[in-house]
């Protein structure tokens, strides 16, 4: 049974609670982010500061996240599992199992916790195209 995901989840929940109650994230939670997520923490927070995370929702209720990376590239993060189309995810998470998440997925969670997600409604077709486009890139 794994420990780290539960820890990460609890940390993010604490951040959410703190933000909801006081609209402020205390220092110790920020340092906790650094401890658990390492080098992804600061870049992820930067993405949140820049409001880079958008949640796409289609009429059937399906959701998807798109994060505007620092290079201007748009990365797609899934809702149902931890997956991101960025190269760091492929390398650090999938290949090396060195990280739980990449900075984009962390940014998604932090944006959720602090209500910083942009919301966008799209059609089923548009959502499908975004998902398929990712496939083509990797293919």
């Amino acid at each position: 049974n794994s420990t780290l995901p539960a820890v990460a989840e609890e940390l993010l929940r604490e951040i959410r609670k703190a933000f909801q109650e006081r609209s402020h994230v205390p220092d110790d939670l920020l340092l906790g982010l650094k401890f658990i997520f390492g080098p992804s923490a600061v870049p992820a927070l930067d993405l949140v500061d820049q409001r880079s995370v958008t949640r796409l929702r289609s009429p059937s209720g399906r959701t998807l996240y798109q994060v505007l990376g620092s290079s201007g590239k748009l990365y797609t993060c899934y809702s149902s599992c931890h997956f991101c189309t960025c190269p760091a995810f492929g390398f650090s998470v999938l290949q090396k199992s060195e990280s739980l998440l990449c900075k984009h997925i962390l940014a998604v969670y932090l944006s959720q916790a602090m209500g910083a997600c942009q919301e966008l409604s799209v059609s089923e077709e548009q959502l499908t195209n975004i998902l398929l486009a990712e496939e083509e890139d990797e293919g």
Partner: protein, 658 residues
């Protein structure tokens, strides 16, 4: 980084922390003793170590705690050999080189995190950790251990394990924030919210059940959910009324042009069991709205309530209606069978098409049709299958509905003068890229006859007379080598949004349009192109007349003020420079149809070469026939009036293509 943002804050905190860590480590090394301040130090003994990502997780036993931080709860925990999960970063772990049974001192600031469903607390931020060597032997052991690498189990974390940030009591989705863009409503059947105010019962999905249970009296309470397969207009005829009004005859009487067009908006609907019904709605005062209805309603689901049954018609009695129904058979989704559960494996190709259909109408005064315009297109909808004309001409059988997108080249009105213009049959000559680019054996242009029963909107009528237009012919009838537009055929100017373009090319024609050349197969009431040599002139048919140079009006009058000037009453102005039009019948010898006498009525405006000839003929009054004879006449586009075999003669008229 954003000024004042979270990232900047963490950066500052992190830098401070890093300085503190390096300072502390340096202090440990240089002093070679543990720091004196014991307050808040966590002392743990490692029981088990494993790795998750780059974090080292140590299951530890807490040995004792500094008196300062001892609390009543801690005392209890201590007595029962408390277990802790201590996390170390990769760097700290590398520094510690911990093994099971090692004792570690963890100096503040460390953090304790209590997980929701776990009893074991987690210790984080363990940068200030130090291994404690308890005895001399340990030190030696440490040195030997340092040489052998310890294998630490690494847990691979599943990606499927996502984090739930909200509490179980909270709703799944957050409240919409201010920057939310317009939300699309759900698409599934939410008929509860859209039910007709009169209807209180649940929505049914069988037309037949409704009809059979309620009889012809009409029903108000129950609603039937159907899909609108087609929207069209029918001319309102007396015959469709359920009773006669006084002495009015039952046959169709032509309506004079001044009255608004007497047409009724109709829907061809289909229920989930595959049954069709034609619903006649209100009379339309003008056909302008029709295209709107078509676009907004076709393909959508709707609820019918309070319909009155006009008649139950059968295949033999309503060929037109059933040819349309046949074009929608078999249905795209296997129809439900009453009493059986939905079986998606069922083959639809063997199902026989329906043999009867109910014609319904609305009770007077009330609209009982609720169309879910906002919803998506129903999956039961069968859009018209658009084909190229070449394919349509090859179809076997007759009375088949076909849809195509074609360019109208020439229009000819039926010449019955006692019938008003909008009641006359129209003959259109159309083509598309599938016909134009083909070789021999396939005609380049095909005639489409539009009968008076096919309702045309004012927009279409104007477009057809004005210029060459691309027109979408929806559900025209093909049979016996002819395409006709009848009742239920719809002509639209817009390209079909939803259609099964089975290899049809909806693009514009490139290059000039070509007609078939006159030959032995040319028939009457067609168009063709011809070339030949003038072999004779029918002088008795020659005449000229002035036309208005602004509007082309051929009926100019003499000006009342000055009898020498011409006046155009359409422009309401004097015509100072009239255009002279001339007409003449010439006999040509055409190599493509050498056996026939070809008589062509030609117009001066088109054939410039002939104009010169005609001027010579008419103004000089004397001529030599020889000077005209033998002149070559270039490719003329003509309409074929008649073709006779005895005598072998073709009579044509030069035309201008739209």
């Amino acid at each position: 980084l954003c000024r004042g943002g979270l990232a900047e804050r963490l950066c500052r905190l992190q830098n401070r922390e890093r300085s503190a860590i390096s300072f502390w480590r340096h202090q440990c090394i240089s002093d070679d003793k543990t720091p004196s301040d014991k307050s808040g130090v966590l002392i743990v003994k490692i029981l088990e170590i494993f790795e998750e990502c780059t974090i080292q997780v140590a299951i530890c036993q807490q040995l004792e705690q500094s008196p300062v931080t001892l609390s009543p709860e801690d005392a209890v925990i201590n007595a029962e050999e408390p277990i802790l999960k201590v996390l170390f970063t990769r760097e700290t772990a590398a520094h510690l080189k911990s093994r099971p049974q090692d004792v570690i001192h963890i100096y503040p600031p460390w953090q304790k995190l209590l997980l929701q469903n776990a009893d074991v607390p987690v210790i984080m931020n363990t940068y200030f950790s130090q291994k404690v060597l308890l005895s001399e032997h340990s030190e030696a052991r440490e040195k030997t251990y340092g040489l052998t690498k310890m294998l630490i189990r690494k847990n691979i974390i599943s990606l499927a394990q996502t984090f739930r940030l909200d509490d179980l009591d909270d709703k799944l989705h957050q409240e919409p924030s201010d920057n939310q863009v317009a939300c699309v409503s759900q698409i599934h059947n939410n008929s509860d919210s859209k039910q007709h105010p009169l209807a209180l019962n649940a929505v049914n999905d069988s037309l037949l059940e409704m009809v059979e249970s309620q009889g012809a009296v009409g029903w108000r309470e129950v609603q039937v959910r159907v899909v609108i397969q087609r929207v069209y207009c029918l001319p309102a005829r007396e015959g469709y009324r359920s009773h006669t009004q006084g002495n009015k005859p039952l046959c169709a009487t032509p309506v004079t042009n001044s009255d608004p067009p007497n047409v009724r908006l109709c829907l061809l609907v289909q229920d989930a069991y595959g049954m069709f019904s034609e619903v006649q709605l209100q009379s339309l005062s003008s056909t302008d709205d029709f295209e709107q209805y078509c676009r907004r309603w076709e393909g959508k689901s709707c609820c019918l309530a309070g319909m009155k049954i006009l008649q139950r018609t059968t295949r033999g009695r309503a060929l037109g209606l059933f040819s349309l129904i046949d074009s929608l058979w078999p249905p795209v989704v296997p129809p439900k069978v009453p009493g059986q559960s939905q079986d998606s494996e069922m083959m639809t190709t063997n199902l026989p098409p329906p043999s009867f259909c109910y014609i319904l109408t609305v009770q007077s005064g009330e609209i009982h049709v609720e169309v879910d315009e906002e919803e998506q297109i129903s999956n039961l909808y069968q859009p018209p299958a658009v084909h190229g004309l070449k394919e349509i001409l090859r179809v076997d059988g007759c009375n088949k509905r076909c849809s195509f997108w074609a360019q109208v080249l020439y229009r000819r009105l039926q010449t019955k003068h006692n019938v008003p213009i909008d009641q006359r049959d129209i003959l259109l000559f159309v083509t598309d890229s599938t016909l134009q680019n083909m070789g021999h054996g396939i005609p380049k242009v095909v005639a489409v006859s539009v009968s008076a029963s096919c309702v045309l909107s004012k927009e279409i009528r104007e477009a057809l007379s004005a210029g060459s237009r691309l027109v979408f012919f929806k559900d025209a009838l093909w049979g016996n080598g002819r395409i006709i537009c009848v009742e239920r055929t719809v002509l639209l100017l817009q390209k079909p949004l939803l259609c099964l373009a089975a290899g049809a090319d909806l693009s514009e024609l490139t290059g000039p349009v070509r007609l078939d050349e006159l030959d032995s197969t040319t028939q009457a009431n067609s168009v063709c192109a011809l070339r030949g040599t003038v072999v004779g002139v029918n002088e008795s048919t020659a005449f000229s007349w002035p036309t208005c140079d602004r509007c082309g009006n051929g009926k100019l009058e003499l000006c009342p003020q000055d009898r020498e000037l011409l006046y155009c009453n359409q422009c309401s102005e004097v015509v100072t420079t009239p255009v002279l039009k001339m007409q003449l019948e010439v006999f040509l010898s055409c190599p493509s149809r050498s056996q026939s006498t070809v008589k062509v009525k030609v117009w001066h405006e088109i054939s410039i070469a002939l104009f010169v000839l005609l001027t010579t003929l008419l103004f000089l009054q004397t001529y030599e026939v020889q000077s005209v004879l033998g002149k070559e006449v270039g490719l003329l586009n003509c309409y074929v009036h008649s073709v006779t075999s005895h005598p072998n003669c073709v009579v044509l008229e030069e035309i201008v293509l739209l």
